[in-house]
Structure formats: structure tokens, C-alpha cells
């Protein structure tokens, strides 16, 4: 049972990858776009998918792996459902971005090197500039930008998100 289940899950996985591959004409020149869309689907790039993509595009797995590890946008580890990107660009840095990061992590109970919460709901990263420098310190939750963050705003924002997630489960 369990095995069969896993297989259906896998084939479904590849089905989506196939759609993406078709969309980009199975052209290796579009490797980055393919990986971007695959990652948007799975929230990370599982190893077997990298190999699958390599075979489908007729390029070596090590080339695909090289590209996937080169760009900061790609992750080989599962990420949270929501990605919080705390900006640590210059403008945010001089307006206290490190404090923002500290508060965000504390609110989510992240310790040490952890960047993702155990329930896989949130991943916290830093990013160099999201183009909202005028509103430093800024952060981004998924595609939404929040500016002029302070302790209170962060606490409210995160409480709200957790609330929403919990509400959605029930």
C-alpha cells in the first residue's frame, strides 16, 4: 500500500514536471526557467527531479546540479509554505535589519542554524535588497512587501499569519 502510494505520488510529480518541460520546448537554454517553475510547484528541487530534468533535456545531471546550486533562488531542501525574506540590503542594514531578523526568528521560535519551522509553514531568509529601500527596514512575505518594520509591526504580522494558518487547518 505504502509503496503504491509513493509511486503514484512520484508519477504525479513527474507529470507536472513534464508540463513545465513541454512549455519550454525541452530546450536546455531554458533550464533556469524550468527549474524556477518546478520549484514554484514543489517549493524546492528534489534530487530525483533534477536528474529527471537533466535526462529530459539531454544534459548531464552534474550540469543541472551546478546550475541549481549556483543561484540563490534555488533550494535543494524543502522550504516552508510561506517564505519570509528579511531584507539585508544596504539601506535596510543601516536602518536596523539585523534586529528585524532577530525579532522575526524569535517570533517563529527559530533557533541556531534553522531557517524553517518544524511544521514547514515558514522559512526565514535574508535577501540583499527587495527594491523598497525607501521604506527600510523592509521584508517580504511571499510576494508581498512590508516596509518600515518595527518590533510591534513584526509581531502583529507574524501573529496574524500564524492565526490564519491555524484557522485554515480547521
Amino acid at each position: 500500500m505504502a509503496v503504491a502510494n509513493e509511486e503514484t505520488v512520484l508519477s504525479r510529480r513527474f507529470e507536472k514536471v513534464n508540463t513545465v518541460l513541454e512549455k519550454y520546448g525541452r530546450n536546455p537554454l531554458n533550464l533556469i526557467q524550468v527549474l524556477q517553475e518546478v520549484q514554484a510547484e514543489y517549493r524546492y528541487l528534489p534530487e530525483e527531479i533534477l536528474t529527471y530534468v537533466a535526462t529530459a533535456l539531454g544534459i548531464s545531471p552534474s550540469f543541472v546540479y551546478g546550475v541549481a546550486t549556483f543561484y540563490a533562488q534555488f533550494s535543494l531542501e524543502p522550504k516552508g509554505k510561506h517564505i519570509i525574506r528579511v531584507c539585508d540590503g544596504t539601506a535596510c542594514h543601516v536602518r536596523g535589519s539585523m534586529k528585524v531578523l532577530e525579532v522575526v526568528r524569535e517570533q517563529l521560535g527559530l533557533r541556531g542554524e534553522d531557517i524553517t519551522t518544524p511544521d514547514l509553514l515558514f522559512t526565514v531568509e535574508t535577501v540583499a535588497c527587495i527594491g523598497a529601500c525607501a521604506l527600510a527596514p523592509a521584508l517580504m512575505v511571499d510576494e508581498e512587501v512590508y516596509g518600515q518594520m518595527d518590533q510591534e509591526k513584526i509581531e502583529n504580522l507574524i501573529e496574524e499569519m500564524i492565526e490564519k494558518e491555524k484557522g485554515g487547518d480547521q
Partner: protein, 635 residues
């Protein structure tokens, strides 16, 4: 219906201009304002219009002008959400959704200005208000060429771009100018690359023009990697057609049929806007085959980056478009000879390209009327950091740094003391008080050890630690070094380690010499611009702020009170009631004490986490910044 002749376009533009010019509401939906809820403000206006609170002008043309219109960044992001009312040009700041009704009734209905919402300066007793955008100090010294439409058109409407004489330059060029004439005009205008290097654009195009090849490419660099800059994003989001028109003109000039726009991964809205603009331009015949009935055909594609600063470098960017790791390659061969897919390619920055249609349309002489002899035109800056008016400003070249920071920028936040400006991002440098009268142009900034860069300008006040900032940049470049060449890969690591030691209070004086030495090696021996310029922030700060380095290294003092290692937590024996709370929370067990005897912190072990400070119910724990020996004496 595509335009097939220049005359058809001209008559359409004429019709557009004849539309009744009634009152119109522009709501800034640039990123800064969006982050301050401007979408809600916009929606509120839409609701009110729908409810019939306000008669929208009905156009005779098919496409109605949107009213209210959502626009790109208007510039003064600090005071967003911004709303501008035409035809008067009234600018309202910090507008809330609930202000919408008031604005409709009073300003649109009765032509009144709402004083509470306009730019206000308090000079002691005197209160000065500036209701019109053009009078607000932030805008007064600006000249808008690149940002000519940004904030005053709906970026998703092609007609609005056309109404501002959009695509006339392209029509003019493809129907009435030879490619050499186009290049000649750009050369004569003196336009220099706005992506940082300042290379003459006309000359770059000429290189690619003369190479014979079956295919050539134009790439628009919208990677905007400088972590403190958002000019290119604002143009791409606020006026995407100006960028497209510039790319098409470049394509015509060098003989290319295809163009790419390489956009940074973090800019999803820019990607959407550019894609829509491409679609609309194709439908209208400004892209595609036989543009304006001429022999020129041209297509543009958008490619998204995936998060690597080095991909802003030309050869790395090309590798990235080809689906590879974005690592730089040695030049020559230059992309103009062998670029994308091995074909002649020119790469220009967004801002450079947005200048092009304006130059072709209005002439080289007109362009030379702005700026200086060697740096004609304007430059957009992203003003940020400890400055009052953070936002986007376009100023004529040759303006002084003082004017830019204190007049356009409104001076330092909270009236604090100015310390430095960081210009040019991780490749640039810090300039100080003594440089404030320097003019902003390629040559004078270079002579001071900084660079124009792409336009990031971060203002620092006395609360910013210069050494920590140098460490910040080094950690950025170290992280972004692609690792291809040793001087950059290893040299930046080495420099970062020394800088880390300095801010951690663990360095010795001889390390400063090592730092300078390493900087020189990285600068001289690295393959690409990333490595070659990475030491600039360190070198300029070492030159202009040596004292501050020495304070950190010799006295273990951070004059700006930033570097945590140089801060001490002390327990005031007078206030300590020996409750022991601090000792219980200290994660490293470095607070000792007994009942009735004041507790004491072991400074050697303390990791400055601040827990004791937070928890003490009697405010007995104090933060103390070490003082320099000379300060202690004078105190």
C-alpha cells in the same frame, strides 16, 4: 489594430491629445506606496467613482482613460501613499483610504486644497505648505528625462505612453533615419552608460554595428544588483514602454532582430509589467515584423534571473540567459564581437535605454542642455538610509552632493549630524563631509575614489559605524563572489575575516596593513568587475575614516555605538537588590552573586545577549559603551 505607418501613429497621438483634459486622480502604486497600503486607497477611489460621486470624463476614443489611475513610483516614497490630482498638479501625502471621499468632494468638486495632506515644512513658528508637486523641495531641483512618465501615466496603458509622444522616436528612426544616423545622434548626445561604468553608449553601439553577422542581440540589463537601489525597477514598473522603445531603437541601430530583458528574480511586478507591455507593443505593431511598414523587424523576450549578483556583469549575464551558471568570462572577446549564443551583442542598462527614445525624439542638442560637458543628461538616484526624503530622484548631472542630500533629500533624519554618503553600492565608496561640494558626474566621483555606480545613494549619520558598514559590503561581495578566480574567492574571504575580527574587537594593528594589502591584490588580480571593485568600500573608508578603524583596533571602541562586542553590561551595585533574576536568565552563567550582595557580570564570558538588561526589575543592569582613553580624560 497595428499601426503600419508613421502617419497613422501621429494621427492617433493627435487624437489622444485632444481628449478632454478634466480632473484626474493618480494614485501611486509603486512598490513603496503599495507597501504602505496604497492599493486600498486606489480601490476606495474606484468605489467612489463607481458610486457616481464623481463624473468621469468620457472619452471619444475606444479606450477610456482610467480614472483614478494607478501609477508607478512618484518619487517621494517616504511620504507615501501619494496621490496627485491633475490638471493642477496637487500632491497629497500619506493618504489614507478614508481621505478619498474628502479629496473627491473638496479638491475635485470645489477645487480646494486640503491643507493637512500637503507637504508641510515647520520652521519654528512659521509653517510653510507646498500644495503643488513641482514646488515641493524634493522635486524642485529635479529634471525628469528617464522618469518623464513615471508616476504620471498608467503604466499598463499603451495609449497613455503614446499620448506622451511614445514610440514616435522609433517611428521616426525606422522610417526616416539610417542606423548610422541613429548611432550618430546617440554619440553626439554624449549619453554614457547608466549601469555604473559610464561607457559612451554610441561608441558601444558602433562596435556592434560594424561587425558582420547573421544575428545580433540587444540585452537590457535589469538585474539591478546593488543592494540599496531601485531605479531600474521603478522605470520598468512605472514606464515599461520607454524601456522597450529604447531596446527596439538599439536593435535598429546595430542591426539586431531580437532583444532580451534580464530582470532580477526579486522583481515579479516588473516582469509582469514588461511582459504586458511587450504584448501590447506587438499588438500595436511596435514590435514584430515590418515595424511601421519598414524593413525592420524586432522581438523582445523577458528572462528572469535567479538570484546572483554577479549576473549583472555582462559575460555572466550572457551565460545565465544561455541557461548556464552565471560565471564571468575573460574579455576580450567583448560581447559586441562575441556575445549571446556567440553572436555580436550589446548590453545596456534600463536607465540608459530609457534615455534613448527621448534623445532620438528631441535631439542630441536638447539632451546636452542638461548636465555637464562630459556627463550630459541626468541621473536617477535611489535615496535611502538616514535621510529625510527617501525615494527616487532624477537630477541633472553636475548637481553637488550637498544639493542632492540636503535639498532634494531634505537632510538627515531627525536633524542628526551627517557622516557620509555611500555611493555606488558594493563597488563604490564612502564620501564624507569634505566631499559635499563635489559635483555628481562620472569624472569627479571617480577622482574621489567612489563611482557613480548605478544610482544607489545611502546616507549615513553619526549612528552608523563605518567599519561595520565596510564589513557588511565585504560580506555581501564575498557571498556573491562566483568563485571562478582565486584572488576574488580567497581574497574577499580573507578581507572579510579581518573586518569581522575588527568589529568583534579581536584584531591587532598590523592587521590593518594586511587588510590594505589584500584589498590591493583583489583589486588588481580579479577577473571581473565584482572582484576588481569589491575592495572599494574598504579602501575609501580606510582612507577617510582611519580614526574609526583605529578606535576599533587599538582601543576596542566603536564610536558610533554599533559594534556589540564593544558594549558592556554592568550592574549598578546601588540599584541591585540581589534578586538573582539576571543570573537565572544568563545563557552562559556569567553573573555571580549571593543574597544581599550586589551581583557582578564576568565581562570575559559575557556574550552581550542583553537578557539580564531586559529582565532586571530594578533597572540595575546598565549598557555601557567603552570610551576611548582621550574621551575618558576629557570627560
Amino acid at each position: 489594430m497595428p499601426f503600419t505607418t508613421k502617419a497613422a501613429l501621429e494621427s492617433h497621438i493627435e487624437q489622444l491629445k485632444k481628449r478632454p483634459q478634466g480632473s484626474r486622480i493618480f494614485v501611486c502604486c509603486g512598490l513603496g506606496c503599495l507597501a504602505k497600503n496604497s492599493r486600498k486607497v486606489y480601490e476606495r477611489f474606484v468605489e467612489l467613482v463607481k458610486e457616481g460621486h464623481f463624473q468621469v470624463q468620457v472619452d471619444t476614443l475606444e479606450e477610456e482613460r482610467s480614472n483614478p489611475a494607478p501609477t508607478g513610483c512618484m518619487g517621494l516614497c517616504e511620504a507615501g501613499p501619494l496621490v496627485m490630482i491633475e490638471p493642477q498638479g496637487i500632491l497629497y501625502l500619506r493618504v489614507k483610504p478614508e481621505d478619498a471621499e474628502k479629496i473627491m468632494e473638496r479638491t475635485l468638486g470645489k477645487g480646494e486644497v486640503i491643507e493637512d495632506l500637503v507637504y508641510t515644512e515647520n520652521r519654528g513658528e512659521e509653517v510653510q505648505r507646498w500644495p503643488l508637486m513641482k514646488d515641493v523641495p524634493f522635486y524642485r531641483k529635479q529634471e525628469k528625462i528617464v522618469l518623464r512618465n513615471c508616476g504620471c501615466i498608467d503604466p499598463e496603458s499603451l495609449d497613455e505612453y503614446l499620448e506622451q509622444d511614445g514610440y514616435l522616436a522609433l517611428a521616426q528612426a525606422v522610417t526616416g533615419m539610417t542606423p548610422d544616423e541613429v548611432i550618430g545622434m546617440i554619440t553626439k548626445s554624449g549619453l554614457r552608460g547608466r549601469g555604473g561604468g559610464g561607457f559612451p553608449t554610441g561608441r558601444k553601439w558602433q562596435f556592434a554595428r560594424v561587425v558582420k553577422s547573421d544575428r545580433k542581440y540587444v540585452i537590457c540589463n535589469a538585474d539591478e544588483g546593488d543592494p540599496g537601489a531601485f531605479m531600474d525597477r521603478s522605470v520598468a514598473e512605472g514606464d515599461p514602454h520607454s524601456v522597450l522603445e529604447g531596446i527596439a531603437l538599439a536593435g535598429y541601430a546595430i542591426g539586431a532582430r531580437e532583444g532580451y530583458i534580464y530582470v532580477r528574480a526579486e522583481y515579479p511586478l516588473a516582469v509582469r509589467r514588461l511582459k504586458k507591455a511587450i504584448q501590447d507593443a506587438q499588438d500595436a505593431g511596435f514590435l514584430g515584423t515590418h515595424i511601421m511598414g519598414s524593413g525592420f523587424s524586432f522581438d523582445v523576450k523577458v528572462k528572469e534571473g535567479a538570484g546572483a549578483f554577479v549576473c549583472g556583469e555582462e559575460t555572466a549575464l550572457i551565460a545565465s540567459i544561455e541557461g548556464k551558471r552565471g560565471m564571468p568570462n575573460p574579455r576580450p572577446p567583448f560581447p559586441a564581437h562575441r556575445g549571446l549564443f556567440g553572436k555580436p551583442t550589446i548590453i545596456n542598462n534600463v536607465e540608459t535605454l530609457a534615455n534613448v527614445p527621448a534623445i532620438i525624439h528631441r535631439g542630441a542638442e536638447w539632451f546636452r542642455g542638461f548636465g555637464t560637458l562630459n556627463s550630459p543628461g541626468t541621473k536617477t538616484f535611489a535615496l535611502s538610509g538616514r535621510i529625510e526624503n527617501t525615494g527616487l530622484a532624477e537630477v541633472p548631472m553636475g548637481i553637488t552632493l550637498r544639493e542632492l542630500v540636503f535639498e532634494v533629500g531634505g537632510g538627515i533624519q531627525g536633524g542628526k549630524q551627517f557622516k557620509a554618503v555611500q555611493i555606488g553600492g558594493p563597488s563604490g565608496g564612502c564620501l564624507t563631509e569634505q566631499h559635499l561640494d563635489l559635483t555628481v558626474d562620472y569624472d569627479s566621483l571617480c577622482s574621489a575614489g567612489a563611482i557613480m555606480g548605478s544610482g544607489g545613494l545611502v546616507v549615513l549619520d553619526v549612528d552608523t559605524c563605518i567599519v561595520e558598514l565596510a564589513r557588511f559590503f565585504m560580506s555581501f561581495t564575498q557571498d556573491e563572489s562566483c568563485g571562478k578566480c582565486v584572488p576574488c574567492r580567497e581574497g574577499t574571504k580573507h578581507m572579510l575575516k579581518i573586518l569581522q575580527n575588527i568589529v568583534d574587537g579581536r584584531s591587532k594593528l598590523d592587521e590593518m596593513a594586511l587588510l590594505e594589502e589584500a584589498a590591493q591584490v583583489v583589486k588588481d588580480a580579479s577577473l571581473c568587475g565584482l572582484g576588481k571593485t569589491a575592495p572599494n568600500p574598504v579602501l575609501t573608508t580606510l582612507q577617510y575614516f582611519k580614526d574609526e578603524y583605529i578606535a576599533h583596533v587599538l582601543d576596542k571602541v566603536c564610536p558610533a555605538h554599533v559594534c556589540v562586542s564593544m558594549k558592556e553590561y554592568l550592574i549598578d551595585p546601588e540599584k541591585c537588590k540581589a534578586c538573582g533574576k539576571c543570573a537565572r536568565v544568563c545563557p552562559v552563567d556569567c553573573i555571580a552573586g549571593r543574597p544581599k550582595v550586589p551581583y557582578v557580570i564576568d565581562q570575559e564570558k559575557c556574550i552581550k545577549c542583553g537578557s539580564c538588561f531586559e529582565v532586571c526589575p530594578f533597572d540595575a543592569v546598565m549598557v555601557d559603551w567603552r570610551k576611548r582613553s582621550d574621551e575618558q580624560q576629557s570627560a
